[in-house]
């Protein structure tokens, strides 16, 4: 499993420098119905079980790195992430505030308090990003 995790880190994850992006990416590799992770390339080099374990391991690692970030760092990572998605910051902030997608990006068996800490930090970071958005100019009345 260690070899598969190392392979994943040196190939796929090497191109994803921010832990927030890694967390989102790795969470998207997980089947919501079974909780198992799938990665065809990794499974073909190793086995499906080993690939699943490696992905879970890297997911836990990304989560732990993000929890360890300061609020300043989290805000900066979110700004970078918004840039990389090519979404308008206003739409992004509105969607994340409404849907709270980060709640499903947490690895299984995460300690509830740690998860709560990250959710709370995301909430504050989104409020900071929202406050930084340029105000919309008033529409000229007809």
């Amino acid at each position: 499993m260690a070899q598969a995790a190392s392979d994943l880190r040196s190939r796929t994850l090497a191109d994803i420098p921010r832990s927030l992006d890694r967390l989102i990416y790795l969470a998207s590799m997980r089947d919501y119905n079974t909780g198992l992770y799938y990665h065809d390339g990794l499974a073909s080099r190793f086995t499906q079980e080993v690939a699943c374990e490696a992905l879970a391991d890297c997911h836990r690692e990304a989560f732990s790195q993000l929890v360890g970030c300061s609020l300043r760092e989290l805000v900066s990572q979110m700004e970078g992430y918004i840039d990389s998605t090519h979404t308008s910051p206003r739409d992004f902030v509105a969607a994340w505030k409404k849907l709270e997608p980060y709640r499903v990006a947490v690895p299984v068996e995460t300690d509830p308090l740690t998860a709560q800490l990250l959710f709370s930090s995301f909430k504050i970071a989104l409020a900071i990003l929202e406050a930084r958005l340029p105000s919309i100019p008033p529409q000229p009345s007809a």
Binding site: S70, L113, L117, S120, A131
Partner: protein
């Protein structure tokens, strides 16, 4: 009429006593499930609640400095509310797990004569001091916010870690004692 009221009162008293007795936890305090519960509480404390990185993150003053210096006032209140909620949640969880350990040790001390009395007394004092410190910190955080007593956070976390270590030693002994008892039981069964 007076005797009717008297007998009804006696009946009600007996019924209440029976009800309270039935509601009492009937699980023996020295049982395996109590030991498993204590182990679980210890694990939750050591792996989930007391790691230094987590405690430092929850009470990180650098986050507050960042919010205070670089964000508008509207964010300040949100930040303090969120961190206060987290701090109180952390303290509540620590107290719940410590109380669970305390309950177990109180029961175990009655069941296992070979437990080191000095360790158990030390543990009882640690638990009592810790619960008091948790209560005081909870009050301070509730009244004055998450950054009211940073030193006390460290004191509580260190005291909890110390109590966990002493408890772990005791639980280690109890595990051996239980395994020994199971070994004797299986030997007897084989004979």
């Amino acid at each position: 009429m007076i005797s009717l009221i008297f007998f009804l009162s006696v009946g009600l008293l007996l019924f209440s006593s029976l009800f309270l007795l039935a509601r009492r936890n009937t699980r023996p305090e020295g049982s395996s499930s109590a030991l498993v519960e204590a182990r679980q509480a210890l694990r939750t404390l050591q792996a989930g609640l007391l790691p230094l990185e987590l405690v430092n993150r929850v009470f990180a003053e650098q986050d507050w400095e960042y919010v205070r210096s670089e964000t508008p006032r509207s964010i300040h209140e949100l930040f303090l509310d969120e961190r206060k909620g987290l701090a109180l949640l952390w303290l509540r969880q620590v107290r719940i797990q410590i109380r669970s350990l305390q309950r177990f040790h109180r029961g175990a001390a009655r069941h296992y004569a070979r437990l080191n009395p000095r360790t158990e007394v030390e543990l009882a004092l640690s638990f009592a001091a810790l619960m008091g410190a948790c209560r005081a910190l909870q009050f301070l955080v509730f009244v004055a916010g998450p950054y009211a007593a940073p030193r006390m956070v460290g004191v509580v976390a260190n005291a909890a870690n110390r109590a966990c270590k002493i408890s772990e030693q005791s639980l280690g002994f109890l595990d051996k004692a239980r395994l020994g008892a199971l070994g004797h039981a299986s030997d007897a069964a084989m004979l």
